[in-house]
């Protein structure tokens, strides 16, 4: 099935399905916890999931990145551990990437 997001109907279908999927992830754990026995294995898996997903997102970006992006990542980490604020750290990384691209024409 292919949907054209540039038509009102296509866009509405896409948004609706995204909204349903998003809400399901919010209630899935909440609902299932009534039945699931959280064994140490399950707990270890749940604990490792967020970082594994972050790694999976960042891996290809790092692989495709250049000096500007690496400088941006370094700035992000530095600002995160300095202020413990994830949005602020992201903006710092963004600023460093923008500056690197401007000055070194990367």
């Amino acid at each position: 099935m292919s949907l054209d997001p540039n038509t009102t109907a296509g866009f509405a279908v896409i948004i609706s399905l995204m909204a349903v999927a998003s809400y399901l992830t919010r209630i899935a754990g909440f609902f299932l916890m009534r039945f699931v026995v959280v064994t140490p294995r399950v707990e270890a898996w749940l604990k490792a999931l967020p970082l594994a997903i972050m790694g999976a997102i960042l891996g290809p970006i790092v692989a495709h990145g250049g000096p500007a992006e690496y400088a941006g990542f370094a700035a992000t980490i530095a600002v995160f551990y300095w202020r413990r604020n994830d949005i602020l750290a992201a903006f710092a990384g963004m600023a460093v990437v923008a500056a690197s691209r401007a000055f070194f024409a990367l």
Partner: protein, 239 residues
């Protein structure tokens, strides 16, 4: 004692949520601008922010906009990014026990990183007013919507957003989240394996499944591979 839901709690939560306004607006602006770049209207961007209400998932979905497998790709983006909410929800359930499902399930719609953290703090302090959690969620929603609309509205005058580094916001935000999740060297395995599998998957398989593949590989390996000090006959290490 079961969980409660009071007007005073909502007020307290909402005011707490307003303190997060600058960050939420800024995040919303980034999404709004990038949504405009791929041809989404202001109304479209606003409705996505209102109904999906998941910044990271929405930003990742924009990457897939225009791809041939668009619907599949955006749904994978939502599930992959919101996977952490499944865990958040699992942690919320015991705290919300005793609350009517008619209040509990709508409340969960507003769960984001910020108010989940609030709920966990309330829990640790022995408080169980779920309205505080909902109030923070509302405060965040206000900023998120304002930012989205402003970004989608003014984005067209920004010109080349790559020059501004806007494409780097999401990677940088994820890196910050990863730093926040980082607890120690034991986390290296899921992170590195997740990254490696995703890189290989992206290169040799393509499509939009690399996040899911890497995420599952990294987390399952961490759960099932024996680690130092676990199931080993050797001397126990006490950190």
């Amino acid at each position: 004692m079961s969980a409660t839901f009071t007007a005073a709690g909502f007020r307290r939560g909402f005011l707490e949520g307003l303190a997060l306004l600058p960050g939420m607006i800024a995040f919303g602006v980034v999404f709004g601008v990038l949504a405009g770049q791929v041809g989404i209207s202001i109304l479209g961007a606003a409705s996505m922010s209102l109904f999906v209400y998941a910044g990271t998932a929405q930003l990742l979905a924009l990457h897939a906009w225009g791809a041939p497998d668009l619907l599949f790709a955006v749904l994978v983006a939502v599930v992959a990014m919101n996977a952490r909410y499944v865990l958040f929800g699992a942690a919320m359930q015991p705290w919300m026990r005793g609350l009517s499902p008619w209040i509990a399930y709508p409340s969960m719609f507003l769960m984001v990183d910020a108010n989940w953290a609030t709920a966990m703090q309330e829990r640790d302090q022995g408080r169980r007013d779920v309205a505080v959690f909902v109030g923070v969620g509302f405060g965040c929603m206000v900023g998120w919507m304002a930012g989205t609309i402003a970004g989608a509205g003014f984005g067209q005058w920004l010109g080349d957003t790559r020059r501004l580094g806007l494409d780097f916001f999401l990677p940088a935000f994820f890196l910050s989240l990863a730093c926040g999740f980082w607890k120690g060297r034991g986390d290296l395995l899921p992170l590195i394996l997740g990254a490696l599998v995703a890189v290989l998957f992206e290169r040799f398989v393509g499509g939009s499944l690399h996040v899911l593949a890497g995420g599952l590989a990294g987390s399952l390996a961490a759960a099932f591979l024996p680690r130092k000090g676990e199931n080993s006959g050797g001397p126990k290490h006490v950190a």
